[in-house]
């Protein structure tokens, strides 16, 4: 299973037939493992890595540090749930260290992010403070560099 998951994480476009060929399993077996992983939420979706900066689309992404007061019974989970349900929230992590939740938010403009923080995030019961950092440039995501490396010159070498 790990081998299949690693391959899908590398490129989710790999078909069950390709994965079967690469791992020496049969296709039906690969299909059923993938299905099982989907059902058990080990695989939670398939997506593309897009560098929006190269498009005409205007957007800003902010990384927000949030300090919260944990609640009886639920700890951090209930507040987290109240945050991650917002469409704007791209990711949410519980952190160790100086703050509790790391929230990334994508919106059309700086103003929209400010609006989200002041009108939606900060007022949530239990949220003690927020610190918003805007992302200026994405260099790498999911092990993929977003920079285009210079092509190597053609070689006519025989080895």
């Amino acid at each position: 299973m790990t081998e299949i998951l690693k391959l899908l994480e590398e490129d989710s476009r790999y078909t069950p037939a390709q994965i079967a060929a690469m791992t020496g399993k049969d296709e039906a077996q690969v299909r059923s493992i993938i299905k099982k992983c989907e059902e058990e939420h080990i695989i939670n979706g398939y997506t593309a890595l897009i560098d929006w900066d190269r498009t005409s689309e205007e957007s800003v992404t902010a990384f927000i540090e949030v300090k919260i007061t944990p609640q009886r019974d639920d700890g951090f989970d209930r507040i987290a749930r109240r945050i991650y349900q917002y469409e704007e929230v791209e990711s949410l992590y519980l952190m160790s260290g100086a703050f509790d939740l790391a929230v990334t938010v994508t919106a059309k403009s700086l103003k929209d992010v400010a609006q989200f923080v002041s009108a939606k995030l900060a007022p949530i019961d239990g949220v003690r403070s927020t610190a918003t950092h805007f992302i200026l440039k994405k260099y790498k995501d999911k092990h993929r560099s977003f920079q285009v490396e210079a092509e190597q010159e053609e070689r006519v070498l025989f080895v």
């Binding site: 391959l7 490129d11 790999y14 390709q18 060929a21 690469m22 791992t23 020496g24 053609e154 070689r155 006519v156 070498l157 025989f158 080895v159």
Partner: protein, 389 residues
């Protein structure tokens, strides 16, 4: 006007130029062409290794090292060979760091071969052994390995090729281009054949880390063969470091001492920056080897299945990163197949004949390329073969 042909060494002029160049020249002019021709990893050297090279420059390590290579590097090489292959060499007397495995091969041949000595070379194999032997005034004697023997060299074949003039046997396993590997039993059989002779072995183990399903066994792992084995390895294939030009040779101290003289006059010392990078590779690179090997293995299985599905007979390669399918069923010669495949489908593969006469009927396909390239190449090959029918 000078007549250079009369001036230049006849020996050098007798060497055949690489027959492959025309493919790459054509390839250069094509759009959307895919090359599965070049024999080097498609990975970039892992960053921590590159970083170690850069740091050495920042620190100002820009001078020669000792001729045999930095003691620290030789020590790490000895530790690595012990850890990965259970081989024991003395870093101070039995190891020379060279400019790639190729220099190491050249050193061995030049240190051992006297005019007229025969050097046994299994083919198909990498192209350098014959010319290097010729340059040392040795006589190449070729053994043709066979698909039905999994492209291994058998003790019977070796025994037949041995004459009183035999000085050296070159053993290129895991093999480029066939992917054949030797097993412990094969070496033990060969040990019996060599018993009582003074024949030396040159084991080119540049692909030692890249075996699939079974661990690499060196002839030096066989106690009866250790004293007659010269081991050549390097960083190019295992760590994706081809451009750093760094390899090494290990063997009996007396021979290594003579080789060091050739190295010292011709090379001085291997590039210092590369040596620093190599120390880091040996210390922290095991995980990189595993990662790249896993990727090669996936591609290997994908390509093998693809070729077999289109009806091509193909030996399952056990090492390196090449597939060596038979294209005899197409009725084309290797050269025609490769020329037409490139012209009609824009995919470069190498005719088997480039690796020895008995490579006729085969082509070499490198799977050190992206899954996407391999899939596209397979699709184009399917079209090509379909049209030939």
């Amino acid at each position: 006007m000078m007549n250079y042909n009369n001036i230049m060494s006849k020996k050098v002029q007798s060497l055949a130029p690489s027959g492959i160049r025309k493919f790459f020249d054509v390839l250069d002019t094509m759009q959307d062409a895919i090359s599965l021709g070049i024999g080097e990893p498609d990975f970039v050297t892992p960053w921590h290794i590159r970083e170690a090279g850069i740091f050495s420059l920042e620190q100002g390590h820009t001078k020669y090292t000792s001729n045999a290579g930095m003691t620290k590097l030789r020590t790490e090489i000895a530790k690595y060979l012990e850890r990965r292959f259970a081989l024991n060499y003395d870093p101070l007397g039995q190891i020379i760091v060279t400019v790639g495995g190729s220099e190491a091969i050249d050193l061995c041949v030049r240190a051992l071969v006297e005019p007229g000595d025969e050097v046994i070379i299994p083919i198909p194999s990498f192209v350098c052994y014959g010319p290097i032997t010729t340059m040392a005034d040795g006589v190449p004697v070729y053994i043709e390995t066979k698909a039905e023997n999994e492209f291994r060299i058998t003790s019977e074949e070796l025994e037949k090729a041995i004459t009183p003039k035999t000085k050296l046997v070159i053993l290129p396993f895991p093999n480029n281009p066939t992917g054949g590997i030797m097993r412990r039993q094969d070496w033990e059989d060969i040990a019996k054949v060599l018993d009582g002779t003074d024949i030396m072995l040159l084991s080119d183990e540049i692909y030692a880390e890249l075996t699939y399903g079974q661990h690499h066994v060196s002839p030096a792992n066989i106690p009866e063969l250790f004293d007659r084995s010269m081991l050549v390895n390097g960083f190019s294939k295992a760590y994706a470091m081809t451009g750093w030009r760094l390899g090494y040779v290990c063997g009996p101290e007396q021979i290594v001492k003579q080789m060091l003289k050739i190295h010292q006059y011709g090379i001085m010392s291997a590039p210092t920056m590369s040596q620093y990078a190599a120390i880091d590779a040996l210390k922290d690179g095991d995980v990189d080897i595993e990662r790249m090997k896993e990727a090669y293995n996936h591609r290997r299985q994908l390509l093998l299945k693809g070729l077999r599905d289109m009806g091509l007979e193909c030996f399952e390669p056990r090492g390196a990163f090449y597939m060596f399918p038979s294209i005899k069923s197409t009725g084309l010669t290797s050269d025609d197949f490769c020329t037409r495949f490139l012209q009609e489908e824009k995919v470069a593969v190498i005719p088997g004949t480039a690796f020895g006469e008995n490579g006729e009927g085969f082509v070499r396909i490198s799977y050190a390329s992206s899954v996407e390239n391999i899939e596209t190449a397979l699709e184009r090959m399917r079209n090509f073969i379909q049209r030939l029918k």
